[in-house]
Amino acid sequence: MVDSHNPMSSQRPRSIGARLAEWWSRLKRRSLEAPPQKRVAIVGNPNVGKSLLFNRLTGIYVTVSNYPGTTVEIFRGRTHIDGVLYEIVDTPGMYSLLPSSDEERVARRLLMEERPDVVVHVVDAKNLSRMLPLTVQLMEAGFQVVLALNMMDEAMRAGIQIDTEALEALLGVAVVPVVATTGQGIAQLRRVIHAVAHGTAHSLRPTLGRRHQQDSAVAAG
């Protein structure tokens, strides 16, 4: 049952170059920059627009592609929301918390080891039913989830209408419709991330606060 040949395990031999690069970036981070106050992870199925959303939130360009599975490494960026320094982490695509490929394993390990303050689950609004199971799993795992409904423009064109407030009430997590390619909804997403990170989501919508507090209680207990 024990998978001793896991290629991504931390004991994997790494090149001196990679170790040097890591050491250098850690040194740089420590000496030049203040540590981030809050951490936000962007997760979701492959090809739903995570990297583009990351670009929009941080202003850092990582390769974006109309092809599933382009992000194979973890990218980090920073942004200020309301004077608070956030670290935003872009992850490889995952279909579920139960990984079936190395990249999914990378994404899950990140969630487990770094315990982000907010997890932004990006979904393709056209395929909501296929993506919600991961939302449920993230909530079960005790994360503070924000659901970003991406590609709202394409959904609209396909004739799909989504009642985001009803979705919010049913799931009990904040839902933000966005169009990452044009930047629509990004400002609202930033506000919601900030509110959820500081436990004031109920100020945006009364139904939200309770559920988020419950979830944190589950996570703590």
Partner: protein, 476 residues
């Protein structure tokens, strides 16, 4: 089931970064990583109890816990979706959907692929970038304006010829390293990345994956592997890293081997087009031969390596009109990455060649290499080209170009060398990436296989070409 979840959740003591309920669910779904982690962190008694419970649940009911948990979530998701979404219009088949069907059609899809490869890659990258643009940069910009004053400057600066060689000698940092990096590779790689980004953003690749899935199954890969393979035509080093998107280690190993062996990178492609195309029928023989090796080795590796054939599941993304801005930014970031990675390697290679020549180490190596070279039936001078190919694949290819320009090699030998160089040990950067992704052992085994295999193929190719020449199908 719910009972088992809460029982396990209560037993757990350690912190996993996930809620206990989530950990319990993963254990019931028999997630290997989580099971190992729990076995490591919990009391052995608890571990045994959990194992007992999981086994019990698996035995009970006709469906596995994994299936039941997945279905419960899926039902919930569908229920929620049904409650919050409304479909306004009856969907008609759009133009893009009809186009999509054509692209995965066995006949029309293949036709489109061939057209794309011919116009997009052969004509644009191979002929325009590798021909016209390289010629202009090499002959005019570097040959006429940049290098002559530089050479004069170093002649004035450094009186010792042996040291001057390092900078402006035949294989010097400026005359070889910088010139190849900027005049030869830069235009080719730019054109390739531009084309690649354009096709990538259109959403064509998942359809290509569907199209070639059948063929790839035969060589132990799934359609998913199409991306690293296509990317390999740009840069094998980058492609080797991208094999991470493949699901099993087995599939990754096969893809890595095939990339190193039979997928020429854009720099090589450019030079091959420029040299081998001078021989009548040369390109066809070279391409068919390398493709045959690709299929054969893939087929055999899939037989030899233990493990199951990959499952294929991929989202087919909608076809989109690429946005010029995105394509340009993406091409630019890839180019930046490439220049940062590649230029230093060229300089290092120049220094190594200089050192190797100065210490006569190269003479030894070339002498050693000349045996297999002569066994294949090639002129001795090819040993030099192949040795330099070891430092960077494209270096060797470019050395070949020089020999052709001097008229020092026959047409058949040119094609044979091109085949050996294409199959030969990947460039140093690619090798290091193989080590990083799969460890020293796997990387050394693969290179150890490629070495003699490339020469054996050269031997076969030489005789094949001589035979074809007799029939008048290939020029000399």
């Amino acid at each position: 089931m719910e009972d088992a979840i809460s029982k396990i959740a209560q037993w757990l003591r350690a912190d996993y970064g996930l809620s206990r309920r989530a950990v319990a669910l993963l254990l019931l779904q028999e997630d290997p990583e989580m099971t190992a982690l729990v076995a490591e962190r919990e009391d052995p008694k608890v571990v045994a109890a959990i194992q007992q419970l999981v086994r019990e649940l698996r035995g009970r009911g006709e469906r596995s816990p994994l299936y039941r948990i997945t279905m419960t979530r899926q039902r919930f998701a569908e229920q929620v979706t049904g409650q919050v979404t409304a479909k306004v219009t009856v969907k008609t088949r759009t133009l893009s959907e009809r186009l999509s069907d054509l692209l995965i059609h066995p006949f029309w899809g293949t036709l489109f692929l061939v057209a794309l490869l011919y116009f997009g890659f052969y004509q644009f990258v191979g002929v325009f970038a590798a021909g016209t643009a390289v010629e202009f940069l090499e002959d005019t910009v570097f040959g006429k304006y940049l290098l002559p004053p530089l050479v004069r400057f170093f002649e004035w600066l450094i009186p010792w010829a042996w040291l001057r060689e390092l900078f402006v000698g035949e294989y010097g940092i400026f005359t070889l390293g910088i010139r190849y990096a900027f005049a030869l590779l830069f235009p080719i790689v730019t054109a390739f990345f531009l084309m690649f980004s354009l096709v990538e953003d259109s959403g064509y690749f998942p359809r290509l994956a569907l199209l070639v899935d059948r063929l790839f199954k035969g060589i132990g890969l799934s359609g998913r592997a199409v991306i690293p393979m296509v990317l390999g035509f740009g840069c094998d080093t980058m492609a080797t890293m991208v094999t991470r998107i493949l699901e099993t280690r087995r599939e990754r190993l096969i893809a890595t081997l095939l990339l190193a062996l039979a997928v020429p990178c854009s720099a090589q492609l450019g030079v091959m087009m420029a040299t081998v195309s001078k021989v009548r029928g040369g390109i066809a023989v070279w391409a068919l031969f390398v493709f045959a090796v690709f299929l054969l080795v893939g087929y055999l590796t899939a037989r030899v390596l233990p493990g199951d054939p990959p499952r294929f599941y991929m989202e087919v993304v909608p076809l989109r009109l690429p946005r010029l801005e995105n394509v340009l930014v993406k091409t630019w970031t890839r180019l930046q990455w490439y220049l940062w990675e590649v230029t230093p390697l060229f300089i290092v290679a120049s220094v190594l060649i200089w050192l190797g020549r100065l210490t006569h180490l190269f003479d030894w190596l070339i002498a050693a290499l000349s045996y297999p070279v002569q066994w294949v039936g090639l002129p001795k001078a090819m040993a030099t080209v192949i040795l330099f190919g070891f430092f960077r694949r494209d270096y060797g290819a470019a050395g070949l170009l020089d020999l052709v320009d001097k008229g020092a090699i026959s047409g058949i030998d040119l094609v044979v060398t091109a085949i050996i160089l294409t199959l030969f040990v990947p460039c140093i950067a690619n090798f290091l990436m193989m080590v990083r992704e799969h460890g020293w052992r796997a990387a050394l085994v693969m290179t150890g296989f490629i070495f003699p295999f490339a020469f054996s193929c050269g031997f076969v190719a030489k005789h094949l070409l001589l035979w074809l020449h007799q029939w008048g199908w290939v020029g000399s």
